[in-house]
């Protein structure tokens, strides 16, 4: 295990402690166990609160998207493991500024069960809650079952759009609508080149021999739709991009935002090599790339691999993408 850790059981606690020590002006702990964090200025009175959360091991997901123009609070689970319903509920209270709360997180069984329970508790407090699930991984289910797909890197777009809407004062219904559309108009597919090791398990979560790739892998190492010998970056980009264009029904004249995301161990250089090919394909198809994001947005500890996400955009969605957003992990546009 090539890990810079102490006690594996304290991995998440120490990590969160480090985050709070590093960014005390931007994030605060809501609960004494540090498993619920909120924007330093939360709740924002009169604005919709956005609560996210999920397992740890995906930085900057999830806690990295708590900030101005993004989410309001986050519930922090163990590695690859849901936060508890109490934690989700505490995050809800911390985020509620009187205009209701949107739950925006990835479509995973454990998370859904725990957030649903938290929503029941919030209802007792008269906090209106709406839920939108990130479900962008086209490799996890065919289009007919799009709502059952797992959520991966594309949730970044939903955070960005919903966060901008909440920041400008949109109603809960409107913020939820914008988030839901961002999820529905987004598609992602990933490739894994090496497994990840859970600190507490100390062993790879799955086997992937050197020189093989898993196309369609999930961000916990869930198997994808094809395993075979590793191919060239261009060929991989072809495999990842074509299904997205197809799934979103994109064609000549359409506009998209592109996200090439690293899963952890893959160098930024390689992500740009992948982007180059994705861009070529979209150019050839007459699809305009309106915005580009390349980097690590949703990782899987030290997994080697990458994902490509496309978000169909119109002027409204572009304006939301371009709105300022500032967290300790993601910063763009003027800071007010």
């Amino acid at each position: 295990m090539k890990k810079l850790i102490n006690d594996p059981e304290r991995f998440v606690d120490e990590m969160v402690e480090g985050v709070l020590l590093a960014h005390p002006d931007r994030l605060r702990a809501v609960t004494p166990d540090n498993r619920v964090l909120a924007r330093a200025d939360a709740p924002v009175q009169g604005h919709v609160g956005i609560v996210t959360g999920g397992g740890s091991g995906h930085l900057p997901l999830f806690k990295g998207y708590v900030g101005k123009g993004l989410c309001t609070a986050v519930a922090v689970g163990n590695v690859f493991s849901s936060p508890s319903s109490e934690q989700c509920y505490e995050a809800t209270k911390a985020a509620d500024g009187g205009a209701g709360v949107l739950y925006l997180y990835g479509n995973y069984g454990g998370d859904v069960l725990n957030f649903d329970l938290a929503a029941d508790l919030a209802q007792l407090d008269d906090i209106p809650v709406r839920t939108v699930l990130g479900a962008d991984d086209v490799a996890s289910h065919p289009k007919e079952r799009a709502a059952d797909r797992r959520g991966v890197a594309g949730i970044f777009f939903a955070y960005k759009c919903a966060g901008a809407a909440a920041e400008r004062g949109d109603s809960l219904d409107e913020v939820a609508r914008i988030a839901q559309q961002a999820v529905e108009r987004c598609a992602t597919m990933g490739i894994g080149l090496s497994p990840t090791i859970l600190p507490a398990a100390g062993r790879p979560t799955f086997e992937l021999p050197d020189g093989e790739m898993e196309i369609g892998i999930g961000i916990h190492g869930e198997p994808g739709i094809h395993r075979g010998a590793l191919e060239s970056a261009d060929r991989v980009a072809d495999r990842l991009t074509a299904p997205l264009v197809e799934d979103l029904g994109l064609g000549r004249g359409d506009r998209v935002a592109v996200l090439v995301n690293g899963l952890g161990a893959t160098p930024l250089e390689e992500l740009y090599i992948v982007y180059r090919r994705v861009r070529q394909l979209l150019d050839e198809a007459g699809i305009t790339v309106a915005r580009t994001y390349v980097g690590e947005f949703a990782t899987s500890l030290e997994m080697a691999g990458a994902s490509v996400s496309l978000l169909a955009v119109d002027d409204e969605r572009l304006a939301l993408l371009d709105a300022p957003a500032h967290s300790p992990f993601f910063s763009e546009g003027p800071r007010s």
Partner: protein, 202 residues
């Protein structure tokens, strides 16, 4: 069975369950994300720790509730949430000083119903229910505890084996689609191991 005996049984079973962490991790790694080993081992450890603080004079229902809370928060995954919900549902039918074989049956049925409702799942979806439901059926058909447990273990084992041929329809494993065929469901296997540990402890 009264609370002190129930607690002793649970401590033994939950101690035994921790030995299956590796197998469950491997099964869950093949069909899901590989964390079921941690869920079960840290959950079982949390239950053992929680039972230490449960006084002997509470009802068996309260014991089940404590277990539920401990298991739910140790590593709150799908399995943890479903099992905790199931224990809570079961505990509701256990509001008495002593529980009978029939009470155990009622508990198990309430638990299975809870999982089915919260998980929107049924037998054949290749989940824990594929072991649990036939096991309960076997319990119901048996004259008493000893024969019942043996029959339940056989039924659960058959459930695990037969569901291997099925495609997973719920949870992470569903993403695998056809590729899930041929692999045993981790949750169903965990339930089988649980019954086996009950037999060993009893």
């Amino acid at each position: 069975m009264k609370t002190p005996e129930l607690k002793r049984l649970l401590v033994a079973v939950m101690t035994g369950m921790q030995q299956h962490a590796d197998e469950l991790r491997a099964l869950d790694a093949a069909l899901g994300d590989g964390d079921l080993g941690i869920t079960v081992s840290s959950g079982a450890r949390a239950v053992v720790a929680a039972l230490e603080d449960v006084p002997d004079d509470v009802s068996p229902g309260v014991v089940a509730k404590s277990c539920a809370r401990a298991f739910a928060t140790a590593n709150p995954s799908t399995m943890a949430a479903l099992v905790a919900g199931a224990l809570l549902a079961g505990s509701a039918v256990w509001d008495r000083e002593e529980v009978s074989y029939q009470d155990a049956l009622d508990f198990a049925e309430a638990a299975a119903t809870s999982i089915s409702t919260r998980g929107k799942s049924q037998v054949g979806d290749k989940t824990i229910l594929d072991a649990m439901v036939p096991a309960i059926e076997a319990l119901k058909q048996s004259p008493g505890p000893a024969a019942g447990l043996e029959a339940a273990i056989s039924a659960a084992r058959r459930g695990v084996d037969e569901s291997q041929a099925l495609q997973s329809r719920r949870g992470r494993a569903a993403w695998l689609q056809e590729r899930s065929v041929g692999l045993a469901d981790p949750g169903a296997t965990a339930f089988l191991r649980f019954l086996e540990e009950v037999e060993r402890a009893g």
